[in-house]
């Protein structure tokens, strides 16, 4: 009953989005404002409708309705309620619905804003948003119905969207349960964050397309979507970091990022998004790069869809469970359609997108931003090539190959290093015109500071050349950023008579985007410390220990104390938990307890590391093997991951930075709009 209701509402939502598309186009072509208004209201309706659908699905998930195929696949009786809810995005059909639901929330939000002054964008924003939504909802309606139910017919039990003739509903006793890897808190919030990032990039894309179609290709669309872009970037970045944390905590390979195609699929839109975030500033300040910004946002949008496609269509792995699903070709068709039509549009409007001003110096800030864009694009090219190469190799030489971390690390590390260098120089250069002299005057102090730091590290911490270069760049960027910050605050202190802290505070408040950006730069550098640490200094060892035996790594000694195995029947998990005493240079630090959790419903093991985390390093212990029968001992794998905590610290600061940059500035914004309107009147009157 509920399932049919949910499916019904889903179908209605699908029709509503289609109506919205047609009404918007029709209303715009025939100049009927009422039609456009009707399309707008229809789009507004999608969110409540999808919320209803989602409510129906959650009801089914919570109440163990295993006659519904999706519920059967992702939940089981032993799962706690909160996991049954989050199982919503734990499977193909549900996560598609989740995607559409988030998308509709953004679409509805957009329709609610004041459209007075950009009426001509409205129909086309609606078209883009609703076409995207219709595509995703259509997937659910026609191919991946989360409400499909099991029916028993003469041919056996199969799932159907609607009750076939001569059949009875079939309800399995219990479900298969969620993949244990997805039961971790990190995995519960990681996909929503990533999806939020993905869908919120649709909004700037929609505005860009609207600008291209209407021919209003000035930077209005960028000003309108600036904040959307920042939030999109926030979610996407946070989603990526959470994914890394999740991998670190549950995948049991002692790392946070494995250059897996699935990870790269989410990383690629982040790269173009980041490039976009920088290059829009050039357009705003200097009126240049209009064409390039359009290309970037189109790329971001299509990489979002492409990423979703890669992870779901089974192109990358021929043995993937989704491989036979019909959604692969449809995703492909959708990517082809959006990419080709967007590029065609941009070519059509190319002439009207030309720059207003000229580049004056290779050291000006806009030139450096362009270099930054080049670097981000280069990293994208490396990533894209790495993902696509196995495909090409198999097609043309019949040879299956792996493109693994060594390729990515070798190819991207010089690019990342250059990017860091740029991060050090760019904040010191001015818009329009900078020279070696002015730049040199500003940068010599930070350089001296960074050299001192590197020298100290060389003497006390490491002699590895790669790491030293990395640390030098980190120090340089941090010093430059702090120096810039301090210069601003100092000037303010002098001119306004504020004390230095108030000056800092007000400075940040005055130009949130700039100083939020600086905080993001610093946080990136903290993250870089963690990455350099784990990449260059990670050590590991593995050994089988009898009780009371000791294994040592770096300064640590670990003594195997005991192991216990027990069943937690209500949750359907079997735990094997080993306890080790940890000593550092002979001094007792405490105990670590790595585990192997076995989930009865999905018949899968999870390896949960025992971790001891400090700013200096993480001690990370895995229980690799233990057979109660042999009782000879247990096998442990131990990692020391230096500095990795800086990564997580940096990501927290990163969040703070983006929130500062993206926080709405109501008063000033409104004033700015008024001012802008007045200037426009004046300039148009002058024409």
């Amino acid at each position: 009953m509920i399932a049919n209701f949910g499916y019904g509402v889903l179908v209605i939502t699908f029709l509503v989005t289609l109506y919205s598309v047609f009404a918007a186009i029709y209303g715009d072509r025939r100049q009927i404002p009422a039609m456009v208004e009707s399309a707008r209201r229809a789009m507004l309706l999608t969110w409540p409708l999808l919320t209803l659908t989602a409510g129906a699905l959650i009801y089914l998930l919570i109440n163990d309705h295993y006659e519904v195929q999706f519920v059967y696949e992702v939940t089981s009786r032993s799962m706690p309620t909160y996991l049954k809810i989050t199982a919503w995005w734990g499977g193909q059909a549900g996560s598609l619905l989740f995607w559409s639901w988030l998308m509709s929330a953004f679409a509805s939000l957009v329709t609610l804003r004041k459209w007075d002054r950009d009426r001509e964008f409205l129909p086309w924003v609606i078209v883009v948003a609703c076409v995207t939504m219709a595509f995703f909802i259509g997937m659910n309606v026609f191919f991946e119905n989360p409400f499909a139910q099991f029916y028993q017919t003469f041919d056996g039990v199969k799932s159907y969207n609607l009750k076939p003739a001569n059949s009875i509903l079939f309800t399995p006793e219990n479900g298969q349960g969620l993949n244990p890897l997805l039961r971790h808190p990190g995995m519960i919030i990681h996909p929503p964050m990533l999806y939020l990032g993905f869908v919120s990039f649709v909004i700037p894309y929609a505005f860009a397309i609207a600008a291209l179609i209407t021919g209003r290709t000035d930077d209005r669309w960028i000003r309108l979507t600036r904040r959307w872009t920042l939030w999109a970037w926030l979610f996407l970045s946070f989603g990526l970091v959470l994914g890394g944390r999740w991998a670190y905590d549950v995948l049991g390979w002692g790392g946070y990022w494995g250059w897996d195609p699935v990870e790269i699929a989410a990383f690629m839109p982040w790269l173009t998004g980041t490039a976009f975030l920088h290059s829009v500033m050039i357009q705003e300040k200097r009126g240049m790069l209009k064409q390039w910004n359009m290309i970037l946002i189109i790329l971001t949008y299509d990489l979002v869809i492409f990423g979703t496609f890669l992870t779901r269509s089974g192109v990358l792995s021929s043995v993937h469970a989704f491989a036979q699903s019909a959604i692969g070709p449809l995703f492909f068709a959708f990517i082809g359609f959006t990419l080709i039509s967007s590029i065609a549009l941009i070519i059509y409007r190319w002439g009207s997108l030309k720059s207003e001003t000229e580049m004056t110096s290779l050291l000006s800030r806009e030139a450096l931003f362009l270099l930054n864009n080049l670097l981000f694009m280069s990293i994208l090219v490396v990533c894209f090539w790495g993902v696509i190469f196995p495909l090409i190799s198999e097609l043309f030489s019949g040879q299956k190959v792996t493109v693994g971390p060594p390729f990515y690390e070798r190819a991207t590390s010089p690019l990342f290093a250059t990017l860091m260098m740029l991060m050090g120089i760019a904040p010191l250069s001015a818009w329009g015109r900078s020279t070696v002299k002015t730049l040199g005057r500003a940068i010599w102090k930070p350089i001296v500071g960074a050299v001192v730091v590197t020298a100290v590290l060389f003497a006390t911490y490491t002699q590895k050349i790669g790491a030293l270069i990395g640390f030098f760049l980190v120090a340089l960027v941090i010093f430059v950023t702090i120096y810039e910050y301090w210069r601003g605050a100092y000037a303010r202190q002098r001119s306004q008579g504020e004390n230095i802290f108030t000056a800092f505070w007000n400075l940040t408040g005055r130009d949130r985007r700039r100083y939020g950006g600086y905080i993001i730069h610093i946080s990136m550098m903290l993250m870089a410390i963690g990455i350099i640490g784990i990449e260059t200094f990670q050590v590991e060892t593995q050994g089988t220990l009898g009780q009371g035996e000791t294994i040592s790594l770096r300064n640590y000694e670990l003594t195997y104390r005991e192991i216990a195995q027990w069943d937690d029947l209500p949750s359907g998990v079997n735990y094997r938990r080993a306890v080790l005493d940890v000593y550092e240079d002979g001094e007792y630090l405490g105990q670590l307890a790595p585990r192997i959790d076995y989930y009865y419903d999905s018949q899968q093991n999870m390896t949960i590391p025992g971790q001891r985390s400090t700013m200096r390093d993480d001690l990370y212990v895995l229980l690799v093997d233990w057979e109660p029968a042999t009782a000879a001992g247990a096998t442990f794998k131990i990692y020391v991951n230096p500095l990795v905590n800086w990564l997580w610290l940096g990501s927290l600061l990163f969040l703070a930075g983006i929130i500062i940059a993206a926080w709405p500035e109501k008063e000033r914004e409104r004033a700015a709009f008024k001012a802008e309107a007045r200037v426009q009147q004046q300039t148009s009157a002058a024409d």
């Binding site: 001003t357 080049l374 280069s378 490396v382 190959v401 792996t402 001015a430 329009g432 002015t438």
Partner: protein, 160 residues
């Protein structure tokens, strides 16, 4: 003719003897430690699971491959020989990188250089109109913003 054949047999004999000589020595060596096995397994990929290095892969099949590495190490085989064996038996996909490095790195490198070239050509074209005055490197800095924005800011100030 005859002498070259003699040399050939001599070389062959040496090789065979060398082979016989190394095997018993290494067979007497201690069983390789987990760390030695992992060092090699880290560089190889599981042939059945997608993109999982062999040293961290928890499946039964991977455990077997690690045992294989261990026994090959015990036989005194070198790292290259083990990698070679894995490629012959399980295909090139066990390597962390495609065997043909050139093709792998060439395309992105060319693409990046092409991008860089286009960017610098772009710079040159942008700067052409001002190239004559660019000789005077220390020209006074331009006003930071274009007139439109400056006017905007001015209006903003009036608002306060």
């Amino acid at each position: 003719m005859g002498s070259s054949r003699t040399i050939f047999y001599f070389v062959l004999l040496t090789l065979v003897l060398a082979g016989f000589w190394t095997i018993p020595v290494s067979a007497q060596g201690p069983t390789p430690t987990d760390d030695e096995v992992n060092r090699i397994a880290k560089q190889l990929y599981c042939p059945v699971c997608e993109s999982t290095p062999l040293d961290v892969c928890p499946t039964e099949a991977c455990r077997q491959w690690r045992d294989l590495i261990r026994s090959m190490l015990a036989e005194g085989r070198s790292e290259e020989e083990i990698e070679q064996y894995f490629v012959e038996h399980y295909g090139a996909r066990v390597l962390a990188e495609p065997p043909n490095r050139l093709a792998t790195y060439l395309v992105p490198a060319v693409a990046i250089l092409l991008g860089a070239f286009m960017l610098f050509r772009g710079f040159r074209m942008w700067m052409k109109p001002s190239i004559t005055e660019a000789g005077a490197a220390d020209a006074p800095p331009e006003p930071e913003q274009d007139p439109y924005i400056a006017k905007l800011e001015e209006e903003l100030r009036k608002q306060k």
